[in-house]
């Protein structure tokens, strides 16, 4: 098993990242930018709070589409641009920022997390509780504690556009148990993300093998996401959708009425092709379509008692407490 992202981030391997609160009073995206540059290992000098000088080495320069090492001057506030006419404006909406978002998204599509069992490894003899030495293979008799896989699919749903520059109309998460196949929409966002997940695999207990393939899990998740989407939209403000629907409908009716009238007035002319052409234009202008795309997948390993409940006293009690 390997964690594969190259670069300084992989070498550093920290588990937690500082949130926006780390720099109180600063806009969240500025903190995000700092974190990104730290992960990329790019040295920066903050000449002013909103003026950064970046020193890129050869390999880092390539990330920015440059051939050789060089220095970049970024201004994060458009009002400061006049003082630094040679600088580049970087802020949400700018081309550079969009590329950085893309970079971050490309490097964060797949992660794996483990939830350690609430008790220490019973196989390892020692003074700690539960280290009584159960039978080999992690079998605790009638009960068996295992790590079981759950895939959490994150879907982004947005309005169809020629090429979405920036949008996150909705981010939906659907967990699919790869053993049972059960789906749980919103499980991650509502509760699981608060649990003490860790990146390193615990030495104990052993892992179960998944029973459900990822393709099947994805299909299940997409179906669940569609239902979740419908529910979510219905609970929210649908006036935007209503407005768009009616606008499109009005335009279509206008075109139908127009070509029907033309057909009556100019009997000799066949204008069906033109009618279709203009309806297609309306369809392109007001597409009543939502695009869903999988943006990332989180593979979770959670402890689960897979056989009975006969555990060493310490283990069973701790499992129930956590539950």
């Amino acid at each position: 098993m390997s964690s594969s992202s190259p670069g300084p981030a992989a070498r550093a391997g920290p588990v937690s990242c500082p949130g926006p609160a780390a720099h109180a009073g600063v806009l969240p995206w500025v903190n995000w930018l700092r974190e990104l540059l730290d992960l990329l290992g790019i040295a920066r000098q903050e000449e002013e709070p909103s003026v950064w000088r970046l020193t890129l080495r050869d390999e880092e320069a390539r990330l920015f589409g440059l051939r050789h090492a060089q220095t970049l001057l970024w201004v994060l506030d458009p009002d400061r641009l006049s003082a630094y006419p040679q600088a580049e404006l970087v802020m949400p909406g700018s081309e550079r920022f969009r590329r950085l978002l893309d970079l971050a998204r490309r490097r964060s599509r797949l992660a794996r997390l483990f939830l350690p069992p609430p008790v220490p490894d019973p196989h390892v003899p020692g003074p700690h509780a539960g280290g009584a030495g159960p039978p080999a293979g992690g079998d605790t008799g009638a009960g068996d504690l295992r790590l079981c896989p759950v895939a959490v699919f994150f879907f982004q749903v947005e309005r169809t556009r020629p090429s979405p520059v920036q949008s996150s109309d909705l981010l939906l998460d659907v967990a699919v148990d790869l053993l049972s196949g059960e789906t749980r929409p919103r499980a991650w966002s509502t509760s699981w993300k608060e649990l003490p997940w860790q990146e390193e695999a615990p030495p104990w207990p052993p892992r179960e093998r998944r029973r459900l393939g990822f393709r099947a899990a994805f299909q299940q998740a997409a179906a669940a996401a569609r239902d979740l989407l419908a529910t979510t939209l219905l609970r929210g403000d649908v006036s935007r959708f209503e407005h768009e629907t009616r606008k499109r409908q009005a335009e279509e009716e206008l075109i139908h009425a127009y070509f029907d009238s033309l057909a009556r007035e100019e009997r000799a002319l066949r204008r069906e092709e033109e009618r279709r052409h203009h309806l297609l234009e309306v369809d392109r202008r007001h597409p009543l379509v939502l695009d869903g795309r999988l943006v990332s997948l989180l593979l979770l390993w959670r402890p689960l008692i897979v056989k009975g409940e006969t555990f060493p006293p310490g283990v069973a009690a701790a499992v129930r407490r956590r539950e």
């Binding site: 937690s16 797949l110 994805f218 939209l233 209503e242 203009h278 990332s296």
Partner: protein, 659 residues
Amino acid sequence: MATLPPASTGLLTSWPPITVPIMTFTLPGWAPAPSPPRPERWTAAEPLFPRVCPSTPAAVASTAPRPGPPPGPAGALAAWKVRWSRTDFAAILNQLRHGLFDPLRWWRLGQQTYEDWCLPLPGEGNLLVTRFLSDRFRRAGVVLYPHQLATVRRVISDLGGRALLADEVGLGKTIEAALILREYQLREGISRILILVPSSLVWQWYRELSDKFGLFPVLQRTAFDWQRPGVILASLDTAKRAEHRDILESLEWDLVIVDEAHRLKNERTLNWQLVNRLRKRYLLLLTATPVQNDLKELFNLVRLLHPGGWGTWSSFRRRFLSPDGRNPRDEQAAASLQRLLAQTMIRHRHGPETVILPPRHVHRIDVHLREDEWQLYDAVRGWVRRIYRERGYLDAHVFALLTLEREICSSPAAAALTLARITRTDPGDPQVFAALQVLLQQGFGSKLQSLVHLIRSLDRQLVVFTEYVASQAQILSILRQAGIAAFPFDGSMRPGRKEWVKRMFEQRGQVLVSTESGGEGINLQFCNTLVNYDLPWNPMRVEQRIGRLHRLGQTRPVEIYNLVTVGTVEEHIFYLLHEKIRLFENVVGELDGILGTRSGLEQFQRSLFTILVDWPGARQGRQALDVLAQSLLAAARERRREPGRELTPGLLGKKAIPP
């Protein structure tokens, strides 16, 4: 495999009993190169609410009126569909197969990118383009006017990206269209943009887009260029040719911009049919004269934007127009029509609410010919009249001789070239040859000396316009001898060279010496002084010269110096243009409609030449010029009263639309 008892208990929640293989999750230990990005693959779009709306036929496939959605929130969403991309899943699966897990810190960073803060969400009235291009505008010296920003807001938020931009000349329609283009690029990332312009304006558009907006459009040269991504800039005449038309109609366009859109006023033309058949999402039509003759022209333009928006022509005519079909039927119909028009067209007029250009100050600099120059001028004038008397009418030869007469007022060198051409068919007048020979040996004429004196006294950056290339060469020569930094600008230059000269003049030069054809389309607002070294007798050409400097972006009064050779044909032309037509002070309005046409211009020239050749004496000549000017102005007033023209102030609004 091990079967679990029903009483299994999960740690997170209770999960149903399952059978699991007791094996660890193994991953291969090698890391292949990441696969290249694949094109997007989508599943078929499915109804969002299959039970509510079991089958929603594609709108494009159906020609029957669609049933309205059922009431309530679910009804609003019933027509919506959702489709899923398979591409991203395939990429993630590939990554998973190779065990390429991203570190948690990266993953969290990526999750944050879906937060709201990463969106540059513009408010209802906010524009991204002013936020992100402010620095570029500052560097390029672009000043955005409130009416331009209002146009962009309105097109984006109210008109759905389809509009007729009909601002009066000089109010910056090009800037407005480019702002809308950039705004859509920033908001929606539109990538297929087609700009169709008259061929004479292709380079002007290129310069505007590249200098001011950082857009470097693809100049269409081959059929392959249509398919290139980004902004394609092409001439409308090229686009409508059969070999290009088919390609254009097969492509999808996010935005189509058509400049000088009055060329689309007739539905039977190839121009109109091409734009109608383009598969476009947004459409901007730019013209200062949406109505030239009758309302059908406007109807046809609106039909391109919103087919059926005004019904069919016959129903529109019945509802709004008088029996002759040219004017609104009554005031009520005019008001209704104006309301309809406001849903499609944006028109701003010159005035306090838009732009008031700085004033023009006109100066006359008298030039007195020397004795030897007079000898040549008199010899040529005698020759012209003799030929005219012999023939009894104006023909090409008399025209050429009149040109020669004017050229002598400009420079002997210019006259020498024309004289050489004339003598191919006419043995010529020996007096003329002798006088010219003397003059050419004298060196620079008195007008050139006056010019140098004027430039030295003004001591500022200025543009000198002349009609003749030979005069241009002499001007440059004498200015360089006088140590004045001067640059030539003429129609023979390639666009790149022109651009370079313009920049050199702006940064280092004092004088730009331009011919008529060289000055077309060039914007020189950074300079506010113009010298008419000689005067064309077409008033529109004078206006075009002034328009290079006196346009949007000019912040200082424009000083116009006219070098007038006293007692020659030039003085009469100046009298007509300045004192009678008041051309220099007033922006040409209705004269454009008269002298802008070939027949109108020919008629004007013929009348003027007849007066000049017949010139019986100072007093009678002036009277004849007065009559000509009065008839020209009367024609302009009459034109303003024509039914089609009346629509402009009446229907299109005395104020901007919307007010």
